[in-house]
């Protein structure tokens, strides 16, 4: 007996209505359940304590705060990751516990475990959002307004102090480091200076000074030496010649008794020699027939005659103390040329001595300079090195001093303007509670109650299946269904039915009325109920 049509929507509707018919027999149960749920729910709503939210906005330099936490790992660039880490940073440390103690949270706990539980609850209730542009919003909800504000404030304060301390510590460390460095460099500088001074002192004669480069000096010295040598040689030659002329070693004018040649003899001798020389020169060019040659021969012959004469007849000329303290003044001595020669000789000898001295000195100089060929450049190099060291040290030292100055300046600045952590909006707790939204909750309870009642009906219906249609009879029992008989009610039954219906309707209406009352007396009722029952504020 298949009464179904092929239309699925129709079937769906029919099936739904059949189900509803089955549910309907439990309507009273459903209503009662709904009543229980609603009344219970509304009472709870009345008993809920208001919850307030404290909010504060802070600026946190995410990187610098998170870096030490992550110990080398990269700071996440996505905001969500940053916020999460920031939350950990703020809440996992001992700051939370400190803040809790400071604000008196621990008074709410009876035992350490309870306190721990309270702390954990606290962690859950503090939420951190934001993260863009390093701005974070910290919020905390609690039923106690003042407490919420205090807690957030304390938390922020402690965190700020900690970062401040860190900052301070950092700069103290930096300062200390710099001081150390500066001290060491100063020491080095001193050492370098003293070394330099020592060096200069030790090699005072070898300092470049105004003399210029060593090699130039050596060259000059050698040149001087050469010059002096040349001068000496020349002077010596001159002396020798003069001497010879004076002593008559050159037999220029005849035979003479050695050792007793008088000045005149000598003079004649030298004249003869000079004429001889002239003759030699002339003879190179001209023959004997040349007039000059003949002239000179005549003169020479004359002079020889005179010389011989002189030697035969030595005149008694006054002698002067000359060599070895005895100078025999003779005619020769009175010869002006002879005198002049003698003077020249003296001069030359004097010069010679002077030159000797000079020579010696210059030789010594050269030797000295030569000797120092290897030494002076080294010294100069050393000096250059020492100078360089000194310069480098000095520049480092100066740089460090500068850094220290900057650090000190920034520190002074930092005391009043913390880079890492700044409160932008201080904790603020609005007077209006953030939860619970009682109106919404009332409606929700009503709806939930109705649904619950309906659910109960459904549940009971499922537990006790009945037959609503002939189709069901056929489907379930499998026996032929003769037919169906309509519902009939007697007057009494009708009355009862109406009474029941009215009561049921009244029950539903009352429920709605109760809801209306609950809604109306929300403002006044809540405090009254709460104070009447002396409910503790929930944490």
């Amino acid at each position: 007996m298949n009464l179904n049509s092929a239309n699925p929507i129709y079937e769906l509707c029919r099936a739904a209505l059949i189900q509803l018919r089955g549910l309907w027999r439990y309507r009273v149960h459903g209503l009662a359940f709904a009543w229980i749920l609603c009344v219970g729910g509304w009472t709870t709503v009345y008993l809920l304590s208001d919850v307030y939210e404290a909010r504060a906005r802070v600026y946190v330099d995410t990187d610098s705060v998170l870096k030490p936490l992550l110990g080398g790992m990269a700071v996440p660039t996505d905001v969500i990751g940053q916020v999460r880490l920031m939350t950990e940073a703020l809440l996992s440390g001992p700051q939370l516990e400190e803040a809790a103690r400071e604000t008196g949270l621990h008074l709410r706990a009876q035992s350490p475990r309870e306190f721990e539980a309270l702390l954990n609850a606290l962690r859950l209730k503090i939420s951190i959002e934001g993260g863009r542009d390093n701005l974070y919003t910290i919020s905390y909800v609690d039923s106690d307004r003042a407490f919420a504000q205090r807690l957030v404030q304390t938390l922020l304060d402690s965190f700020m102090e900690e970062t401040l301390d860190e900052n301070r510590e950092d700069s103290t460390n930096a300062e200390r480091f710099l001081d150390q460095q500066i001290a060491s460099y100063a020491q080095r500088l001193d050492d370098a200076e003293s070394q330099l001074a020592e060096f200069k002192k030790a090699n005072v004669g070898l300092m470049p000074g105004n003399r210029g480069d060593y090699y130039t000096r050596l060259q000059n010295a050698m040149r001087d030496l050469e010059e002096t040598r040349a001068a000496y040689r020349i002077a010596r030659n001159r002396r020798d010649v003069l001497q010879q002329q004076l002593e008559g070693e050159r037999p220029t004018w005849g035979i003479m008794q050695r050792g007793q040649a008088s000045a005149a003899e000598r003079q004649l001798q030298s004249q003869l020699e000079s004429y001889q020389q002239q003759l030699d020169v002339l003879l190179l060019q001209y023959t004997e027939m040349h007039p000059d040659v003949m002239a000179i021969r005549e003169v020479m012959a004359d002079l020889e005659n005179r010389l011989a004469e002189q030697r035969r007849n030595p005149t008694s000329a006054p002698q002067l103390q000359f060599d070895e303290g005895v100078v025999t003044l003779n005619s020769l001595d009175l010869n002006p040329v002879y005198q002049r020669t003698k003077i020249a000789l003296k001069d030359t000898e004097v010069e010679l001595v002077a030159l000797q001295g000079k020579l010696a000195k210059e030789k010594a100089d050269v030797d000295e300079l030569q000797r120092m060929v290897n030494v002076i450049p080294e010294i100069e190099a050393q000096l250059a090195a020492l100078n360089r060291d000194y310069d480098v040290n000095r520049s480092q030292h100066t740089a460090l001093l500068k850094k220290l100055e900057i650090l000190r300046l920034s520190q002074d600045m930092g005391e009043s303007d913390n880079d890492k952590f700044r409160i932008i909006d201080p904790p603020n707790v609005p007077l209006k509670p953030v939860a619970p939204d009682r109106r919404l909750l009332l409606v929700t309870v009503l709806v939930a109650g109705l649904i619950g009642g309906f659910g109960l009906m459904f549940f009971l219906h499922q537990l006790n299946p009945i037959f609503s249609t002939r189709q069901q009879l056929w489907d379930v029992v499998g026996l032929p269904v003769l037919g169906a008989i309509s519902l009939m009610r007697t007057a009494t039954q009708q009355l009862t039915f109406r009474k029941q219906s009215t009561m049921f309707g009244a029950g539903v209406v009352m429920l709605l009325l109760f809801y209306g009352l609950a809604l109306m007396f929300l403002e006044t009722g809540v405090p009254w109920v709460q104070s009447a029952l002396a409910a503790e504020p929930a944490l």
Partner: protein, 312 residues
């Protein structure tokens, strides 16, 4: 209808008396009830408790009363209700007609049963019987086999009438002695009888079986409709179910739990022709039947057709 009844009816209509199911005094039947044990040797048959039972006369089918009890549909829907019961009876009649073939032995014995009490067996039985009685060439015997709670007998005012129990107890008594005629010739009623403590055992006894068989043979041209006790509450119903040929299991819509029905069906002999009837069903949209939910309007007894819809 007696004056007293009329008066009561008026009072009901005026709304002053809330009628409980308080039955009016039994209608007049020509039965003399005497507790005179000293009347000896009466030719009249006696019931088990010594009452003299005369051949019962007629009982009037008081439709108004039955309407007031809710057994019969209100007037405005009489035709509709007739229609419904007609549909029920035809398959049953079919089985009766085909009795000559082996298919349904004892098909003229129809038991109206239910799993649990209060599902509408009696109502169904009565209406079904009345529907059968309208058939031509058909006579119906309506038997109140629910001896523990003889509602059927009460409806017809036969609660003190000797009936089935008496027949079972007294060998001397015969069914024909206690059958009650109605103003419809086709319809006869066998009341439950005197209250008897071990009535269930009695009904389950051999005597009952033999009686039924006898009835089936004697009244093979009659349809016998048995109003039986609930299957799950009593044992004798099960026994009776074994004796009849057709079983009409009444299931009350939106009330009887499915498992109960299934259990009841499980108790039945599946070789019998078992049919189901959904009682007190409400309408659902989109059904094929023409029907409606109706009930009484308190003030004028007129029916109050509220949801003209279709039947499931």
């Amino acid at each position: 209808m007696s004056i007293i009844e009329k008066a009561l009816q008026k009072l009901q209509d005026a709304g002053r008396v809330t009628p409980a199911i308080r039955l009016p005094p039994p209608p007049e039947i020509d039965v003399e009830v005497t507790r005179d044990e000293e009347i000896q040797g009466s030719s009249q048959p006696r019931s088990s408790d010594g009452r003299a039972v005369t051949r019962p006369g007629r009982v009037a089918i008081d439709l108004v009363r039955m309407r007031s009890l809710g057994v019969v549909a209100p007037e405005a829907f009489a035709a509709h209700a007739e229609d419904e019961y007609r549909r029920l009876k035809w398959p049953l009649l079919n089985n009766v007609m085909r009795q000559d073939s082996v298919e349904v032995p004892g098909a003229n014995l129809i038991m109206v049963a239910s799993s649990l009490p209060g599902e509408g067996k009696t109502t169904t039985a009565v209406n079904l019987a009345m529907s059968f009685a309208r058939e031509r060439d058909c006579t119906v015997l309506l038997v109140d086999a629910d001896v523990a709670k003889p509602h059927l007998s009460e409806i017809f005012g036969l609660q003190s009438q000797a009936g089935l129990i008496d027949v079972l107890l007294d060998d001397q008594l015969d069914v024909s002695d206690v059958l009650v005629r109605t103003d419809n010739d086709a319809l006869r009623i066998l009341a439950a009888g005197s209250p008897y403590r071990s009535a269930p055992e009695l009904l389950a006894s051999n005597r009952m079986k033999m009686l039924i068989r006898e009835l089936a043979e004697r009244y093979s041209d009659r349809i016998m409709v048995f109003d039986s006790p609930p299957l799950l509450e009593t044992n004798e119903a099960q026994v009776l179910a074994g004796l009849v040929g057709q079983i009409v299991l009444v299931v009350q819509a939106d009330k009887t739990p499915q498992p109960a029905v299934l259990e009841a069906v499980g108790l039945l002999d599946t070789t019998k022709a078992i049919n189901l009837v959904l009682n007190q069903g409400r309408t659902l949209p989109g059904s094929h039947y023409h029907g409606g939910y109706y009930g009484y309007n308190k003030t004028d007894g007129k029916s109050d057709r509220r949801y003209p819809g279709n039947w499931t």
